[in-house]
């Protein structure tokens, strides 16, 4: 049975924890709004880009030869897994769900006798993966200092990946991130970025366009940008998901802290009552004994 003083300190400490989680929840809510706006603002670009690329790549694929970024290197022996997670924890299952998915993929590839390489973006993913895949680790991109994710960040990551691709370090690249669905639901997603695949939305729009310079040159110039665009939208989805996940995790934590406080308060009151009763008994029996 904890003493009254112990109970009091515990109640105080849970109360301050609740204050912190409450504050974090509100910060996350504010950041979530901004992250969602950023994700929305980037959508028109990504959609149009993909529409044009779909047309271009359809005709390039039809002709049977295109840049390596589109058609692949002709083998799929070495896979690069780009795992994008958050820089901070305290956001529920956000980081682990991405890592779990990446890990499953890694095991599957290893089981099939492929070679894997892992590149992480975000500290949390590195911490979790580094233990098991020490040897396959090829790099880490730190975004701790970045307050607001811009296209330039995506370009840097894309450049890193493309340099590795040009150096022949891997054949297939896949990105892992969380897609934002709602505050309570984030879905871990994997997207293959190299060789690129674009979903054609409205048939073959490409056929009637004129291209300047040629179709192939345009494709060549745009494919690297496609990688950056895919990464950028992944980063933004991730950003929104992270804040959403943190918001609901902190909401839960706040509620749990509240319940905890109620329980402890009841216990505190009971034991206080018990102490008083005890003292009374002592006084009365003392008086009777006289």
């Amino acid at each position: 049975m904890p003493s009254l003083k112990d109970l009091k300190t515990r109640i105080e400490s849970v109360k301050s924890t609740r204050k912190i989680t409450k504050a974090m929840q509100m910060v996350a809510a504010a950041k979530l709004r901004r992250a969602q706006e950023a994700a929305e603002a980037s959508r028109p670009y990504a959609e149009r880009f993909n529409a044009v690329m779909a047309g271009l790549s359809a005709s390039a694929m039809a002709s049977g030869q295109g840049p390596k970024l589109l058609t692949g290197t002709g083998s799929d022996q070495t896979h690069l897994l780009v795992v994008m997670t958050a820089e901070r924890g305290l956001c529920g299952g956000f980081n682990s769900s991405i890592v779990r998915m990446a890990r499953a993929k890694a095991e599957e590839l290893l089981g099939a006798g492929k070679t894997i390489k892992i590149l992480t973006v975000g500290k949390k993913g590195r911490e979790q993966l580094k233990r098991d895949y020490e040897d396959q680790f090829v790099g880490h991109i730190d975004l701790t200092e970045v307050k607001r994710i811009g296209y330039a960040n995506a370009q840097d990551i894309a450049k890193d990946i493309l340099d590795r691709f040009d150096a022949g370090e891997f054949d297939v690249a896949t990105v892992f991130f969380n897609t934002f669905q709602s505050v309570i639901a984030q879905e871990p997603t994997e997207v293959q970025i190299i060789p690129a695949s674009f979903e054609a939305e409205e048939g073959a729009t490409a056929s009637f366009y004129d291209y300047e310079p040629g179709e192939e040159e345009i494709l060549e110039a745009l494919l690297p940008r496609g990688v950056a665009t895919a990464i950028f939208s992944g980063l933004l989805e991730n950003g929104a998901s992270e804040q959403g996940a943190r918001m609901s995790a902190m909401d839960n934590a706040t509620r749990n802290a509240g319940e905890m406080i109620d329980k402890l308060t009841i216990q505190f009151n009971r034991s206080r009552q018990a102490v008083i009763t005890n003292e009374l008994i002592e006084i009365i029996s003392g008086a009777e004994a006289l």
């Binding site: 603002a41 149009r48 291209y211």
Partner: protein
């Protein structure tokens, strides 16, 4: 024949302009061009330069680099990696673009050096225009 078309300028981070325009002057990779309504469908890559869109409320100017423009009979969409309204362009911004272009040029394989050298020259030209 319609006298205006839908003009959109988007960068990865935001939509800079979406309006009805009667003509759009685009710095295409193989030379400047002006797109007007009922233009032949065309896709062109961009070189660093100034984009001018003329609508009912005057002409707007943007500095763009990297990306492409998609022109159809009823619309002109410009997707630029870097796009800034001309009034907001700072020497720092141009300097940043120039540094990137120089780095790209230095790293470029011999067969694409022509292209990167041209991008550098375009930037120099752009800087002259801005002064």
């Amino acid at each position: 024949m319609a006298d205006t078309m839908q003009f959109d300028l988007v960068s990865p981070e935001r939509m800079l302009a979406s309006m009805q325009a009667s003509e759009v002057q685009i710095p295409g990779a193989e030379g400047d061009m002006t797109a007007m309504p009922d233009h032949m469908p065309l896709i062109t890559t961009l070189r660093p330069g100034i984009l001018r869109a003329t609508g009912s409320d005057g002409t707007q100017e943007f500095v763009v680099s990297g990306g492409f423009a998609e022109i159809t009979a009823t619309s002109a969409s410009v997707l630029a990696e870097n796009a800034v309204p001309r009034s907001e362009v700072t020497p720092d911004f141009l300097e940043k673009l120039r540094k990137e272009a120089e780095a790209a040029h230095a790293q470029a394989a011999p067969e694409v050096q022509d292209y990167t050298a041209k991008a550098l020259a375009d930037l120099a030209h752009l800087a002259d225009q801005m002064v």
